[in-house]
Symmetry: C2
Subunit: 195 residues, 2 copies
DNA sequence: ATGATTATTTATCATTTGTAAAAAGTTTTA
DNA sequence: TAAAACTTTTTACAAATGATAAATAATCAT
């Protein structure tokens, strides 16, 4: 990690306000608990283990959520610009998580302490709504991903992913393979086929 | 569908209040927009097509969300007692859905018009929070399901499902098979193996 | 209860994906 | 820049799952 700033807020609040308009008091309160951090390629943002107490938001770059299954590194999720990075199964349950977060490329993320954030919900209805809407978007993405994993072929899933964002080009193949639920070898075969 | 009542509220509000306590005004307002319906086995609760404008809550029984892919009936989701039935990809985006809802067994569900509900959010912070928490639980379930579909074997997924609720025993195998992302024939093989 | 319908199992063969190991290509770093 | 480290592709073989068809079992409607 190379930078750790109190935060140069303008751009992000433009985006936040476009999702749900915040009062100036709410904006000021939220600004107080946001910390901006920049990570280099492959930096670990949050290690595996412990309870998740942070909500991350990708300002710039790309990150992944990963875990180990039978010794293999599995990518569960990719987060791109203006998206949350959420380990919901821990953040919303208080249970420990076996998942970590890693920057894939040089990335700037906003780090928000979840307890402070949830505390703000009590005084600032508009902040609760903003994050409800952001989480809701993640929820919809997750439902779409199930449809994809449940009955699409690996090839269909790969082609679908290619269309989501050009950023995919920058992601190492091994991460993409496990994200699609297949091995690197399989993905390599699929790519040979597609060409 | 056999009953269509204005609603015999007590029990459900016990549950709702245990998730997030509601003021008596909020409770009264919410009661106004809840309609209780009872469906018989295999009844269609919501047909495929159209935009989803209803939030359902299973008071008793069991339902599934399904769609057709290449002419095959695919079960995407099961909802059991005290859980929402949500077609998030339509409800939260306003886009039409290709998914329907069917009662698996005789079931009593609460039907809530989503526009009326979202309207209530503006006056009743506690109602917004209640539903945020209910949706959040669905989101966590969805994330767990991805982990399952992404890298567990069909056999592991089947055994995992068996442990979630005894209600599974009542669900026809063909629904379970597609929910697990496999064919009926494969599931039958797995069951023969497990015994 | 009986026949019709629907659900489940079994069998066969084809296809997809996994595992392991090696080769080829790329990136990092001393 | 060269060596080392890492990533991607290829190959060969094994295992899991799919597709199809047919047989059996269970359920439903009259």
């Amino acid at each position: 990690m190379i930078r750790f700033l109190r935060f140069d807020s303008m751009m992000i609040f433009d985006f936040f306000n476009s999702v749900n308009n915040l009062s100036s008091e709410s904006q000021a309160a939220l600004e107080q608990i946001i910390i901006e951090k920049t990570y280099l390629k492959s930096d670990i943002i949050q290690d595996i283990g412990s309870r998740c107490k942070t909500v991350y938001f990708v300002k710039d770059g790309c990150a992944r959520i990963f875990y180990f299954k039978d010794g293999n590194d599995i990518t569960e999720h990719f987060s791109f610009e203006n998206e949350l990075i959420v380990r919901a199964e821990s953040l919303f349950t208080g249970k420990p998580t076996s998942k970590g977060i890693q920057a894939i490329d040089r990335s700037t993320v906003l780090s928000i302490d979840s307890e402070s954030l949830f505390e703000l919900y009590n005084q600032h209805h508009d902040i609760e709504r903003l994050f409800r809407l952001l989480f809701q978007k993640e929820y919809v993405n997750t439902v779409k991903r199930i449809e994809s994993l449940q009955f699409k072929t690996a090839k269909e899933r790969y082609e679908e992913l290619l269309e989501t964002t050009d950023y995919v080009q920058k992601i190492p193949l091994k991460y993409i393979a496990t994200y699609l639920g297949i091995t690197q070898v399989s993905l390599s075969r699929i790519r040979a086929d597609v060409k």
